[in-house]
Symmetry: C2
Subunit: 377 residues, 2 copies
């Protein structure tokens, strides 16, 4: 159940209701690949106000296995997270296994990166796995072609993705009909089409004609220029039903989030804030900073003077640098807490700006403050 | 200021007052080698009720450097920990650098394990470094001979340790006299003497004759049999002033803590709970368990059914095993939280048992429950 509460230009504010609670949109979803957001506990995620996290079907199906998780009562219970979870279909990771996967009409065969075991992932199997995981939002299996690519390749690929989407939807609805228990999971379709406007349009029409509870824009942030990505998003969102949530997969930098919201996107996920945290890059209101730089060795200020997170309230850049240089896991935890706080705070500010009809002001201001430091750092 | 509040046989309960608050004894001090207890934040330590942590002078003098920490306002401020800190003298780590250190009457020359830089650590320098760190309890520099060793070697070594202790005390009192600010640090002497009763007695007499605010028993838990260690502790504690705290350095297993308390020890530190946590060994009321064992793959119970820590309240053995197998840092954090909670809970139970004159009952019960599982695991 998605309710739009405010519009400001193409930007939208809303509330997505799920069986595990409400998500205010635009929303950022921290990535918990293997059933944990790296370096954090569930308590940390609650403390920073995360309303939804993402789990990776590919990783979880291999280890510990979706059947095992089902026997534990589902992913929420297994990982001790009571709020909403979105699971991807596993497709993106499988298609990254160049040389270890074979695709045909039925689905994709691949060998595990862990032990080489052979697996088959089909549109139906991706539905079943995510039913075992019991996520609140499930994604259809899509083909993710590498960019750049020819129109022929992308066209053929989006048609396969659409046929898979139809099979996935039918299987999902079949499971729902037969389910003895209340069936609360919803399913999102995925629009592909590379960077070609007509192909995005074709994919959007095919996907929307099947009918899902929400729509994702996939296949972006894979190396194309930012402006290209923004253009694809701008071209695609008007083709999606206004009353349903729109999710831009795997995106992105703080600037990307602001720019995609400006083009009508409601949901995001990205490993950038968590991965960069572990690599010592802190995202701040003044832009990114690399905590390993010698200039921070005696800097008693917080990572971000404008941030009220646990890390910024209690620890200096000098200490964070020391932890990084010393290889202390605690540094990864404190940096991750900050970076995710920065992302979630940014989403809060975005939502507030939309509610007050001041999103364009916010956007201009964000460009001025966030990017300035990026240039001098 | 140390106040004994209860005695039960040789076991003692008391309160040690420091400039950063009170420590109830018998106390266990989590080890924060490089200015962080590995995998935890200061908030975690407060949540589990840690009243004091240990910092390692050797590691901190090399990186980020004690002068840098002094410029930050001292170790408490630098690491964001408001409660008491004990720092060791650096001696133990330096003497572990076999082949990279040279000892003479003046002190010890060594090269850093980080970059080979040459350093000299003298009794006076160890005092100065710990003054820079601003710990609540500072330790004197001692020589830590390897065991087993001959009486001649140990005798010569404890005499050097005693001469160093006198220099350290004189330097400490000199600094205290000259300090323009309130000087709240206290200094503990260290009794050496290997496993020889007469040499422990000689070292205790020499050290006590100098006069410190507390006394440590050093040079144990370095490979000697448990019973030998217990005997040395039993022989040494009666030689120390009854009204001052006694600290058994680097010890030990949960059983070791109980046995040493039974012989009159008040304070402990050990990396065992934190290091083993990261290696997947959980200490529980029923004994240790190795979470990587396949038997836990579908075990929905908590790590320790008798434990009320965050980890045990919220997560199953199955999830902890998954995190360990997947190499997730979150597993290290949750395991560390549990193991330290188990240690601190054990100390609480010890203190309560002493207060009620039931320590011997507690001790017998602890042996029955803790060791049983160790045998079958």
């Amino acid at each position: 159940m998605f309710t739009l509460t405010h519009r400001d230009g193409a930007a939208r504010r809303g509330v997505l209701q799920t069986a595990h609670g409400a998500i205010e949109t635009p929303a950022f979803m921290p990535v918990g690949t293997q059933g944990a957001v790296k370096a954090l506990t569930a308590q940390h995620l609650e403390d920073i106000g995360a309303e939804i996290i993402l789990g990776n079907t590919y990783h979880l199906m291999l280890r510990p296995g979706d059947e095992l998780i089902a026997r534990r009562g589902g992913l929420h219970k297994f990982i001790g997270w009571k709020k909403p979870i979105l699971t991807d279909s596993g497709g993106y990771q499988v298609f990254s296994l160049a040389g270890r996967r074979k695709i045909d009409e039925n689905g994709v065969e691949f060998s595990s990166h862990l032990d080489g075991t052979a697996y088959v992932l089909t549109p139906e199997r991706a539905v079943d796995i995510q039913a075992n995981l019991g996520s609140d939002i499930a994604m259809v299996l899509d083909e993710c072609p590498a960019l750049p690519s020819t129109t022929e390749v992308i066209d053929k690929s989006l048609e396969l993705t659409a046929r898979w989407a139809r099979r996935a939807r039918e299987h999902f609805l079949e499971r729902k009909k037969k389910s003895p228990d209340p069936f609360t999971q919803v399913q999102f379709g995925i629009v592909q089409g590379g960077t070609f406007r007509e192909l995005r349009q074709k994919s959007a029409e095919l996907t929307v004609s099947i009918g899902f509870e929400g729509y994702a824009i996939g296949g972006l942030s894979v190396g194309e220029p930012n402006e290209t990505m923004y253009q694809v998003v701008a071209d695609t969102t008007p083709l999606l039903p206004a009353g349903q949530p729109r999710y831009l997969m795997g995106v992105g930098t703080p600037i990307d989030l602001v720019e995609a919201v400006a083009r009508g996107v409601d949901m995001f996920d990205c490993v950038l804030p968590t991965r960069n945290a572990r690599n010592g890059q802190l995202l701040t209101s003044e832009g990114p900073l690399n905590i390993k730089n010698a200039q921070f060795a005696e800097d008693d200020g917080p990572a971000d003077p404008a941030c009220g997170c646990y890390t910024c309230r209690n620890f200096s850049r000098a200490y964070l640098r020391h932890l990084y240089m010393a290889g202390e896991m605690t540094g990864g935890t404190l940096n991750t807490l900050h970076n995710l706080s920065f992302y979630l705070d940014t989403m809060r500010r975005i939502r507030e700006a939309i509610a007050f009809g001041r999103f364009e002001d916010f956007r201009q201001g964000f460009h001025q403050t966030f990017t300035r430091r990026a240039l001098i750092s």
